[in-house]
């Protein structure tokens, strides 16, 4: 079998790797674990950077037009003369906050870091299928990140037309937009390289006995995610190149005729359509939402199964729901565009698909909640984040409903309600799941546990402060306050009733930064000083825990090739003395062979 061939091949390489120089071992590494850590570290840096952009914006929103204290003078006279943030700079921060958080922080963290590190281990593979491609994927991502970061320092600053970069605004924008487009081309290419690798790896490198329905849910989530990236990103890459050509070579894919900007007739070939960009953009960006959320659901499922000490409830329905979600995510994109002048038929179609896609999300969330019934819940640090994820993602999902119905969307479209909605999905949703994953798999990476007290000191304040930021956004949105206003709506009378929240929300944001300090300290401190643990500190069932406490660098993760005997989450198996049975544990139990547990899934596929 190919796994074995790979394994042998891997061992050869591993032996040869000991003589490899440092740069080949740690910098241009082809080992999925090193690449995963590289992705993780880079993405966490960007997460902090993207967050800090928002902290600056929150100053301007809380105290419009007042000089930023302490660091205001460092932002440059072009951006913040006298420490007072200019609208131009505010728009740069807004566009780059979105871009960085989505494309440079969360996706690389969810897919590049967790996917790379965990998937091969969970399926018992010696490495990813294409190690060189994997390395290329990271370095192309890195180039994209450098390009985006550097764009702050070009004349006119970074891109300032929103993370959505709608033309014509983006086409008449300053040079930073060109850098943004080049950066996006790098990032998309990187994701494509990665996604091919995941798909091949998951289909071809599973350990013996690891059938698809025995895969940990996390692997399923990565598989569906990889398909989304593979199929949704090419249209945006094409669109990005079109926009680049519009800006650089004078084409006009997205520029209509007859534009007048600042009193001057714009000289373009014309005949293009700004809406074409929106279609191509959202054709990616809606599946992208599920790229952000599926790996998070995967991590939460792992952590919940482990800390409830019982199998996931309705595993099969979760898998089907995730696959269905993947398919559906390609036909909902235009619900971002209800207000572009849509007729009844098209709007009815996209509203219907949008309502349909809410069902698999409800199925997965329900399954996770039902998994808690009859559990023996350990409130470990990863579990706290995973549990908090559930209601937070719930709020994010539920507030999507009034936005997904075009009638109620009219009033709420492009208001703070939307910002609240998707941040609940992504911030206390996905980012909390990422934290859960970091605390959960840290012992696998380092052989040491992160400090539990610091973990709790990280969790509880973060939970409070993050809600302080996002909850009032719904009230401001109901009032009709538009997004992306430099003064937070200070001029508008309809905004007056909710303006007082701005300062409160900003304090939430700044305190959220403080609440991350225990995490940052814990992360570095625990590498050297964390409590040493054996290879399976959480008494977990999945294959990654069968590898050494900190698997050695190089291909070939397992001392011996694992063989899988059972489904992914055999916890608290009746008539078995321990409370878990690892997937590779050959012990025979009465429940071992056909563990399909049909009673849990019946009637749920509909």
């Amino acid at each position: 079998m190919s796994v074995l061939e790979q394994e042998e091949h891997g061992s050869d390489e591993r032996a040869g790797r000991h003589k490899e120089p440092f740069w080949k071992r740690y910098i241009f590494s082809q080992d999925h674990k090193v690449i995963g850590i590289q992705y993780g570290f880079t993405a966490l840096c960007f997460l902090l950077f993207g967050f800090s952009l928002m902290l600056l914006m929150r100053w301007q929103l809380a105290f419009p037009g007042k000089p930023i204290p302490v660091i205001g003078g460092l932002l440059g006279a072009d951006n913040a003369p006298g420490g007072i943030m200019l609208p131009e700079f505010y728009n740069q921060l807004g566009a780059m906050h979105g871009t960085i958080m989505v494309f440079l922080a969360i996706v690389p963290l969810a897919v590049g870091a967790f996917g790379n590190y965990v998937v091969p281990l969970q399926i018992g593979a010696p490495d990813m299928a294409f190690p060189k491609l994997n390395m290329a994927s990271y370095w192309v991502y890195f180039l994209g990140g450098v390009t985006m970061f550097a764009s702050f320092f070009v004349p006119g600053g970074a891109a300032n037309s929103g993370w959505t970069s709608y033309p014509p605004l983006s086409e008449i924008a300053t040079q930073g937009q060109t850098w943004w487009l080049v950066g996006m081309v790098f990032l998309i290419t990187s994701s494509l390289l990665g996604s091919v690798n995941f798909i091949v790896t998951i289909f071809h490198l599973r350990a013996k006995g690891l059938t698809l329905m025995r895969l940990p849910f996390f692997v399923w989530s990565q598989l569906v995610t990889a398909f989304l990236l593979l199929l949704a990103f090419p249209p945006l890459e094409a669109a990005g190149v079109f926009q680049l050509m519009d800006r650089v070579f004078g084409t006009s894919f997205f520029m209509p005729s007859g534009l007048v900007v600042s009193g001057e007739v714009v000289e373009v070939a014309g005949g293009g359509s700004p809406l074409l960009w929106q279609h191509l953009f959202w054709f990616l960006a809606h599946p992208e939402v599920y790229v952000l959320i599926l790996p998070a659901l995967g991590i939460v499922a792992e952590v919940i199964a482990n800390n409830t000490r019982k199998p996931l409830w309705g595993y099969k329905s979760m898998v089907y729901a995730a696959v269905f979600l993947g398919f559906m995510s390609f036909i909902v994109w235009a619900h971002h565009m209800f207000l572009t002048g849509m007729g009844t038929t098209i709007s009815a179609f996209f509203q219907t698909t949008t309502m349909i896609i809410s069902i698999p999300s409800v199925v997965i969330l329900t399954a996770l909640l039902m998994s808690l019934w009859g559990a023996s819940i350990r409130f470990t640090t990863p579990m706290l984040f995973a549990l908090a994820f559930l209601p937070m993602f719930g709020i994010g999902g539920l507030t999507g409903l009034p936005l997904g119905l075009s009638g109620s969307d009219i009033h709420l479209h492009d208001t703070y309600y939307v910002i609240g909605h998707f941040h609940y999905v992504v911030a206390p949703g996905t980012i909390f799941a990422m934290f859960a994953g970091i605390y959960y798999w840290f012992p696998k990476i380092t052989g040491r546990k992160m400090n539990d007290f610091l973990g709790k000191l990280h969790f509880y304040p973060s939970f409070v402060f993050i809600n302080m930021i996002f909850m009032p956004m719904f009230l401001q949105g109901l009032a009709g306050v538009s997004r992306r206003l430099w003064d937070g709506g200070e001029q508008y009378s309809h905004a007056q009733g909710g303006l007082h929240w701005n300062e409160f929300m900003s304090w939430g944001a700044w305190l959220l930064l403080v609440a991350q300090l225990p995490f940052i300290f814990n992360l570095f401190w625990s590498i050297k000083k964390g409590k040493k643990v054996d290879s399976n500190p959480w008494q977990a069932t999945t294959l990654e825990w069968a590898a050494a406490p900190s698997p050695p660098i190089g291909h070939g993760n397992f001392a011996e090739v694992p063989v899988v005997y059972r489904p992914a989450y055999e916890y608290s198996v009746p008539d078995h003395p321990g409370d878990y049975l690892a997937q590779n544990d050959p012990t025979e139990t009465p429940t071992e062979t056909p563990i399909e547990t049909p009673d849990k899934t019946s009637g749920k596929e509909g």
Binding site: Y166, P168, S262, V265, L339, T344, W373, H411, D414
Partner: protein, 304 residues
């Protein structure tokens, strides 16, 4: 729930808005029931099944079918929302008023960072416009005053005046980038997309309270506004216009007051038109809000 949401929402002064708000309230009911229901369950299981109290987990877990029923219920409610409310509401929203209802047609041309409002005037025909006639100071929409049907056209900046209880069709377009024409009190929002003219239809059901009218309304909570909802550049935050709803006769008076002076027969180049228009503006300087808004617009353009 509708009243509960209304505590944060602006008042609704449109004919179609009530249905949208009701639907919004229904959706929020669904959200609230699901969230509170699952929330209570969540807290209960966290307490009941904590490791201390429940040392060994149950392998089979819940065998209840209740979640299937809940999922079925969610599907049912979503179908009702979709078929019973959302799709009909949208169909109504995009249906033009019948000509018999004597709809008022107004063009709104968005630009960085102002709303140009174009009324057809007494003849009911919009004058010809040409982008090459555009002069940001005097003729922001490039109206060809030489065109006979343009002679009585009225162009205002950031001032949308409409009659109450009469259907209105706004023909929305943009000169430069994408904007979004939002009337929070009217439950109206529509993207203004360059290269397209998109019709939107609504009917106001209330006149603007007199004491709240511009200019005094800048700091007044009752002010009715046009809000730009789509990022359109550095001045997006101040792309704010004003909406005034009049009694029908009052509206006619306003149109007469705003109507341009009869122009001499021979066509004039755009530049001269400009001075006419400016004379216009100063003629109505007593009309405090107009002067104020003109200043406002100047200021905006200068800053933009």
């Amino acid at each position: 729930m509708k009243d509960f949401l209304a505590r944060w929402m602006p008042i609704d002064t449109s004919e179609h808005g009530g249905a949208l708000d009701s639907m919004n309230a229904l959706v929020h009911w669904l959200m609230a029931v699901l969230f509170v229901g699952w929330g209570l369950y969540f807290i209960y299981v966290l307490l009941r099944f904590r490791a201390k109290k429940s040392p060994r987990a149950s392998y089979s877990g819940s065998t209840s079918q209740v979640s299937t029923w809940i999922e079925g219920g969610v599907i049912l409610v979503e179908v009702i929302l979709l078929v019973g409310f959302a799709i009909p509401a949208w169909a109504r929203w995009v249906t033009p008023p019948s000509p018999g209802d004597n709809p008022l047609v107004v063009r709104v041309i968005a630009q960085q960072f102002a709303w140009n409002i174009h009324y057809a005037g007494a003849d009911g025909i919009f004058g010809h416009t040409d982008i090459h006639l555009i002069n940001e100071a005097s003729n922001p929409i490039g109206l060809d005053r030489g065109d006979a049907s343009a002679a009585d056209d009225i162009v205002t900046i950031n001032q949308l005046h409409l009659p109450v209880n009469r259907p209105v069709t706004v023909l929305l377009s943009s000169k430069d980038v994408i904007h979004s024409f939002g009337l929070p009190v009217m439950r109206v929002k529509q993207d203004a997309i360059p290269g397209q003219e998109i019709p939107i239809h609504f009917t106001a059901t209330m006149t603007t309270p007199t004491e709240a009218r511009f200019p005094g309304c800048a700091a007044d909570k009752e002010c009715w506004e046009i809000a730009c909802a789509q990022l359109c550049g550095l001045g997006h935050y101040r792309m704010r216009g004003f909406l005034t709803i009049h009694e029908p006769d009052e509206f006619e008076n306003w149109l007469i007051a705003e109507a341009p002076e009869p122009v001499e027969a021979e066509p004039q180049p755009a530049g001269l038109d400009a001075s006419t228009a400016e004379a216009e503006a100063s003629d109505h300087a007593d009309h405090a809000d107009h002067a104020d808004h003109a200043d406002h617009a100047e200021h905006m353009r200068a800053a933009g």
